[in-house]
Every structure is written in C-alpha cells, then in structure tokens.
C-alpha cells in the first residue's frame, strides 16, 4: 500500500493507494500515528480512499483506531474522501458511517472539516 500525507490547516489528508487489509493495516496505523504526533494542531483526519479497492476487518479496525484518536485526543472529525462502492459498503456494514462522513471531493471534505462539527 502506498501512503501520502498532506496538512491543510487543522486537517490532515492521508491518501491511500491499494488494499487496506491485514497486511497493510499496520503500516497505515503507524503512518497516521506518526503524522498526527508531529503536530497537536491537527484536529481533523481526511482519508482519501479513492484509490482503495478493498477494505477488510483489519482495515476497519485501523480506521476505528484513528477515529478514537481523533475524537478523544483532538475532538476532531473523521472524513472519508470518495470511497468506491465496495469500500463504501464495507464502511456502512461495519457501522463506520455512523461516526465518519463521506465527501466526494477534497474541497467538500475540507469544507466539512472547517464546519468543525464534532462527531459523536
């Protein structure tokens, strides 16, 4: 899996490329942790899932961990950017869509983050 991070204001945008599964979940977890630890000003996490074809339960678990970190440590918001239909179905099935928002474009994701509405 290929991972890239970019900071925009108080949002961290993480772009994922490849399957988020048992093999890549740990790398994703470590990468995002490192990025978040670099700055305490980051409040929102935007996961760019446009290039992710599949997520399994380990991937869901890794996203859940980031959700907890963002919610508890930073009172921020978790946003999924452009997930494909199969991925969207997994997110819905695992209940993640109850705690994270979906944006179709980066501008929309940043606008959501700017609203600053806290997730439950």
């Amino acid at each position: 899996m290929h991972l890239e991070a970019r900071r925009m204001g108080d949002s961290l945008i993480v772009r994922l490329k490849g399957e988020l599964d048992l093999h890549s979940a740990e790398a994703f977890r470590a990468f995002v942790r490192e990025q978040l630890a670099a700055s305490d000003r980051i409040r929102n996490l935007i996961l760019d899932l446009r290039a992710v074809p599949f997520i399994d339960s380990s991937g869901v678990g890794a996203i859940l961990g980031r959700y907890k970190e963002i919610r508890e440590g930073r009172a921020g918001r978790l946003i999924a950017l452009g997930p494909r239909v199969p991925v969207r179905r997994v997110l819905a099935m695992s209940g993640l869509l109850r705690v994270m928002d979906i944006a179709e474009t980066q501008q929309e994701a940043l606008a959501m983050a700017k609203e600053g509405k806290r997730v439950p």
Partner: protein, 780 residues
C-alpha cells in the same frame, strides 16, 4: 414439642427478662433470683416431661430403651441442662412403670438410673471433642452394657436386655436430630429432623399408655390431635405420615399379642384419617376435623367394639375442639418451618425478594460511590485560564530571551506595550502556521520598533515550538488523567445497570416453574466450519454454543480484529463475557451494552471484536438475533432466504452501542447461517459477496445445515487464492423434537486446525484438566 423458646409466650418472657437486664433462657447459668428460677423451669419442663414419658415407654411391655436414648441424644448435642432434666424425668418414669410390667421388663426398677449414666458418659465424650454421633454411641453403649450387667446381677431375661441395649443405641442415633432442636433458634426443618421428631413423639406416646380417665386415653387423644395438627400445617402428606408413625407407636404398646384388635385398628385408621384430614384441611379447621372423623368411620369394620369406636370418635371431637383453639397465625408459623408447604414457599419467595431488594440497594449505593469518585477525579474546566497562562508564559519567555536588557525596552513595553503584545501574538500565530519564522514575516510594527528582529524571530519560533511540545504532552497527560474519572463513571454505570436488572433476572419460583413447564418442541442441529489463513496460528474467530436451561440455546460468534492470538483473545473474551451474562439471566441488549462499557474502560489498545448472537427458544422456534459490527446472517425459511444485517460499530468504540434485536419465528427445517467477514471476503472475486452467500444458502435442497456448510467449504477449497482472514461459518437448523437423529450434542466441525492448535489439542488431551474443559469448549 420444639423448644419452648420459640413460642410467643417464651419470647415474651425472654423480653421481660431482658428488660430487667438479665439473661434469657440458655443452657448457661442464669444470673440470680426469680428469673433464675423461671429460666430453670423454662429449661427443664419440656425435656423432663418427655423424659418421663420415654422412661416408662415399654415396647410390647418388655423393652424400655427410649429414656436413656433421649438423654444421651440431648447430652451428645451439648444440651447438658436439658439432658439432666430429661434424665430426672426418665428416672421417675422408670420407677412409675406399671407394676404389671415389672416382671416382664428386665432389671426394673434397678435400671431406671441408666439414663443419667448414659448422659454423663455422652457429655464426657463430647468434652473430649468427640462428634455428636460418637458421643451418643458411647453413652448408649455404656448404658446398654450396664443394663446387661444389672440384669445379670438381679436376674432377668438377658436376651431382652441385650435387645434393649441395641435398641437404645439405635434410638439414640435416631433421636439426635430432634434433640438438636432443643434450645436452637427457630429455623426451617429438614426432612431428617421431621422424621426424628415424629419418632420422638411416637416413642413418647408409648410412654403415656395407660394414663387416662374413665376410658379416655391420653395417648390416644394426643395421637389424634397430633395427626390433625400435622394435617392442618402440612397437608395430606404430612397427615398420612404422622398417622402412620403414631399408628405404629400405638401398635407397639400392647402386651398381649392375641388381642391386637385395638392397636391394629389404630395403626390402620390413623394414616387414613391423617390423609383425609389433610385433604379436608383445604377447607380449614372444620374440613380437617371432618376428614379425621370420616377416616375413622370408614375403617369401623376393623374396629373392636362399639365402645372403642365411640371412644375414638369422642377423642377425635376433643382433639378437633382443642385444635380449634390454636390460633391460625401459630399454625402458619409452624407450616413455614415444614418443607414443601405453601407457607414455606411464600416465606422463601419473600426472603428471596428481600435479599434481591437489599442487593439491589447495595449495588445502587456502590454505583453512587463510584459516580461520586468519578466527579471527584474529573478535572475542572479551566481551558480559558490555561490559555491565558500559556500566553503569559510565551510573552515572558520572549522578553527574557530578547527584550530584557535591550535599550528599546521602555519604548516597546511601556510606550507601545499593547501593540508589542498584539504583534508578538501575531508572530506566534505565524510561527505556528508555518512551522518557522523569518524576520521578514514579523508584523510591521514590531519590525519598526525592534532593533534585533532576527533574534526576535528566532526566539519566537523557538518558544512557540517548545510550547507546542509542552502542550502536546500536557494534552496527553490530561487525557490520561481524564481516563480515571471516565473509568469510574463507566463502572458506576455498569453497577447501576446490573442493579436495575436484579428484579428482572430473578424470576419468582412460580414463574420459573411455569416457564419450565413448556416442553421444548424443537431440537437444533449445528454445523460449523472454521479455517485460518496461517496453519501455524490460532483462529481469531470464536464460536460457542451455550445451553441456557431447558428449551433455550444461544449461538455466540465473535470476530476479533485481525488474526492470530491477539484477535483470538479479543473474540474469546467478548464471547465469554456474553455467555456469563446470558447464563446469569440478563437479556441480550443489556449484556451487549455492559460488555461495551467494560471494553470502553480498557486502555486505548486498538483491539476490537464483533458480536453476533442468536438466542433460540426451542419451545416455539423464536430466534432473537443481535449484531454488533458483525457480518450479515442468512435466515432460510422454506425456500426464502432473508439477509439480516446491522450497520453498527463493534463493541468498545462508542459509549452507547446502537443495538437492535431482530426476532424471527422459525419452523422445523428452517436454517440460520452466521458468518464472520472472512467468509464474505473469500467470495469477493464473485462480485456481490453477500448475494453470493445468500444464493448458496438458497441453493441447498432439501435444506440441511450440514449441506450448507459442506457447500461453502467446497467453495472455499476451490478458490485459487487461499483465504486471508479467519473464516467461521455456523449453520443451525431446527428439527421437530424426536423426528430426526439428534445431533446437537456436539457441533460438527469442518475445521482445518492449524498445526499449533493440533499440537495444543494433543497436549491438552493428555492433561488432567482436559476433560473438565472439554465440555465447555466442545464447540471451539
């Protein structure tokens, strides 16, 4: 019959004694004066009376074993004073045996003091820390040996003396439970105590034989009164038992074996009369009395003369009259001490209810304590003040680093103090935004006033960076401090929830019995498939079948996040907790919410587990399904396959779990298939995996749980790429009870165990604990 300390009169006396600051009736030495006399009377009158009756009780006019047996039993139970009183009574009783029997009872009257000897021996044995049984045996054995010696000395039937000695020993052991009731606090009676009491009463009645007036026999009257009493307090069973016991006692009294008419009639009529009186007791005292009379009248053909019948009827009427005087409250109190009576059941239920209420109250108190502690540990909201302090610290550090000692200090901080302060805040914001700061991006006012802009820019950047690190660690510290109140609040909420459920989980005995009266209509046939991607690792999925009493079974499935031992530990912990809650009688939703609260209390370890629970009622085929973050299930009813899904998060993420219990009514032949998401992932190459699984379940014809699993197993084996996640498929099918071979004792495992698990299984099988745990984890 029981210790008179339990009677209201005695309790009143005890209260009177206590009001005067003196001790109540115990076996210990009383204090002084008048109360001492009253206490002494209270201690000895009943044992003395019984001892008197037993001392003169002669079985068939030959054997007199009961006096010493009773004294020995009392002494062996540690009732020394009562035993002494009984021994005195037995001594007098032994001397008052009718003179007509002196010739037939061996050793009379020289053997009369033997109860005293037996008592002393038993007390001595007890003092040497022997058990009650051994002390009683020692006392009876010595008394019996002395009896033989006396008879050998004074002359008499040695065989009869030997039989008496043996009967003494047996009776002492038999009377031990009844002797233990003297001086004991009123408590529900056990069956052994009831039988022993009945024997004591019967033996006493033998001793009262011959006491009467104008044809009115005291023993006969008491036998009828006691049968009536037993019928009233215990119903037909107790009435018949008392009648049988006392009838046999009456049978043992008479000497001339040829004239058995009256004892035989009494032995036959009393059980029947007791039974009928017990049935009549449903109509109260008049009904019981009528039952007693009818019993006597029905068996008149067995009776001797009309006079005997008339006497018996008269005795019945007198007994009924006496019983009519006994208050109903007293009868209820006695009934409460007998096993199996409605009064005892009611008392038991009331006791349970009170205990539950007390436990609930106690739990609520504990919950309140934790809530209070949580409040105490909650950090006060001082975010605004903290921000102010941080600003002050920032400015002070910049001043210390650059401005202190500067020739322009007065210009910047006295004449333009506010502007400098505002410009420094802007500079900090810029440094925070960009991560660094050059002198060119300093606010223009500051650039104009400051004579050392490069140093200032560096100092601002350095201080902002240092404070950012400090803030980060402060936040971490506060987060960990907040963990304590959060955990305390969580514990408080769990305890309060358990307290709320206390009333619900403990069904009244009657309701539980009613529930159990519905026999299960269905059996359930289970097939399980479990695979792991790594043959050297354990499955991260956990499945367990839990039998929840008659007619209820639960299937619990959990998928730990990821694979391997850590995932296995997570899923097993979740399933084990859910199992415990369900076995304790909590409902599914409460159990899942509590597990969620418990998992929330843990550290922030990223380990989660899904929960998939099916609760099957085998009496009517109802299935309750609850999913928390779990993959969909498939319910096949007839030819239709329904997908049951719930889009919610696993437990341990949010403070409240959004659960919904889905209920379906199944018939025989219907199948429920539960899967973990590994099974769904294994179908991903075929498009809509959920639909693919649904079609697989639909295709099996005729519907059969094992074939569903076989088909899925074949499909997974045929895949080109091996599974990457743990896979568990559980299929269970309802079947009419007894219509097909029952296979649910052991779920069928289509499990490809890993090498490590196989090795562990072999090792476990050789360990002693293996058998014990095999039953619990048969489905694993």
């Amino acid at each position: 019959m029981i210790d008179s300390a339990s009677t209201p009169l005695a309790r009143g006396r005890v209260a009177w004694l206590r009001r005067r600051g003196r001790r109540g009736p115990t076996d210990g030495a009383p204090d002084n004066g008048g109360p001492r006399l009253m206490t002494a009377i209270h201690l000895w009158w009943l044992p003395a009376l019984i001892g008197f009756a037993l001392g003169r009780a002669a079985v068939f006019g030959v054997l007199v074993p009961f006096g010493s047996a009773f004294c020995v039993a009392l002494a062996a139970q540690g009732r020394a004073r009562r035993a002494a009183a009984a021994a005195m009574g037995a001594l007098i009783g032994g001397w008052t045996i009718p003179s007509s029997l002196w010739a037939s009872v061996p050793g009379t009257p020289w053997t009369a003091p033997l109860p005293l000897v037996g008592m002393i021996v038993a007390l001595a044995a007890l003092k040497r820390r022997r058990g009650a049984g051994l002390a009683a045996a020692a006392g009876a054995w010595v008394a019996g040996a002395l009896r033989l010696g006396i008879v050998a000395l004074v002359g008499g039937d040695l065989l009869a003396a030997g039989v008496t000695a043996a009967a003494e020993l047996a009776a002492a052991i038999a009377l031990l439970p009844a002797a233990g009731l003297f001086g004991a606090r009123p408590a529900p009676l056990r069956h052994g105590q009831i039988v022993s009491l009945l024997a004591l009463t019967g033996f006493s009645l033998i001793g009262l034989e011959g006491i009467g007036w104008q044809g009115f026999a005291l023993a006969s009257f008491l036998a009828r009164a006691l049968v009536l009493l037993a019928s009233l307090v215990g119903g037909p069973g107790f009435g018949a038992a008392a009648g049988a016991g006392l009838g046999i006692a009456t049978f043992l009294t008479e000497v001339p074996l040829a004239a058995f008419t009256r004892p035989v009639w009494a032995a036959a009529v009393l059980p029947a009369a007791g039974l009928l009186a017990g049935l009549g007791a449903l109509g109260g005292k008049p009904g019981a009395a009528a039952g007693l009379l009818v019993g006597h009248l029905l068996l008149t053909p067995l009776a001797g003369t009309g006079l005997e019948i008339g006497t018996a009827i008269f005795e019945c009427l007198v007994a009924a009259g006496c019983l009519a005087l006994v208050p109903n409250a007293a009868l209820r109190r006695w009934a409460e001490r007998l096993p199996g009576t409605p009064e005892r059941e009611r008392l038991h239920r009331e006791g349970e209810r009170e205990a539950r209420a007390r436990a609930e109250e106690q739990l609520q108190r504990v919950a309140a304590v934790f809530a209070e502690l949580s409040q105490t540990f909650t950090p006060q909201d001082g975010a605004g003040q903290e921000q102010e302090k941080a600003t002050d610290r920032y400015v002070a550090r910049v001043i210390d680093a650059v401005c202190r000692g500067c020739s322009q200090y007065r210009l910047c901080w006295e004449r333009h103090g506010y502007e400098t302060f505002r410009d420094l805040l802007d500079a900090a914001a810029a440094a925070g935004r960009e991560g660094q700061l050059s002198m060119h991006v300093l606010p223009s006012g500051l650039r104009q006033r400051c004579i050392k802009p490069p140093q200032l820019a560096k100092a601002v950047a350095r201080v902002v960076d240092a404070m950012r690190v400090e803030a980060y660690w402060r936040t971490r510290l506060e987060a960990s401090r907040e963990l304590v109140p959060r955990q305390l609040a969580g514990i408080a909420s769990i305890i309060a929830g358990v307290a709320d459920q206390m009333e619900r989980i403990a069904l009244p005995a009657a309701a539980a019995a009613e529930e159990q009266s519905w026999a299960p209509r269905y059996d359930v046939d289970v097939s399980v498939l479990q695979t792991t991607p790594d043959p050297d690792s354990v499955s991260g999925d956990c499945f367990r079948r839990v039998d929840l009493g008659p007619g209820k079974v639960a299937f619990l499935l959990s998928d730990g996040m990821g694979t391997g031992p850590r995932a296995a530990a997570e899923s097993e912990a979740a399933v084990a907790m859910l199992q415990r809650f369900l076995e304790a009688g909590f409902d599914l939703e409460f159990a899942v919410n509590t597990i969620n609260s418990v998992l929330l209390l843990r550290s922030s370890d990223e380990t989660y587990a899904t929960l998939d629970a099916c609760l099957v009622d085998l009496t009517d085929g109802t299935v309750q399904m609850l999913k928390v973050g779990a993959a969909p299930s498939f319910v096949r009813r007839g030819q239709e396959v329904e997908v049951v899904r719930a889009a919610n998060l696993p437990v341990g993420i949010l403070t409240r779990v959004d659960t919904e219990v889905v209920t379906r009514r199944l018939e025989a032949g219907d199948i429920v298939v539960m899967v973990t998401d590994g099974a769904l992932a294994a179908c991903r190459a075929r498009g809509d995996r959920e639909e693919a699984l649904r079609r697989t379940v639909e295709r099996v014809d005729p519907p059969d749980a094992q074939r569903v699993v076989d088909l899925l197993s074949a499909r997974l084996r045929s895949r080109a790429n091996p599974a990457e996640d743990d896979i568990t498929v559980v299929a269970f099918q309802l079947a009419e009870r007894g219509r097909r071979p029952q296979r649910q004792a052991e779920p069928r495992l289509h499990w490809r165990p890993s090498r490590r698990q196989a090795r562990r299984t072999v090792a476990d099988a050789e360990s002693p604990a293996a058998k014990e745990s095999a039953g619990r984890s048969a489905s694993q």
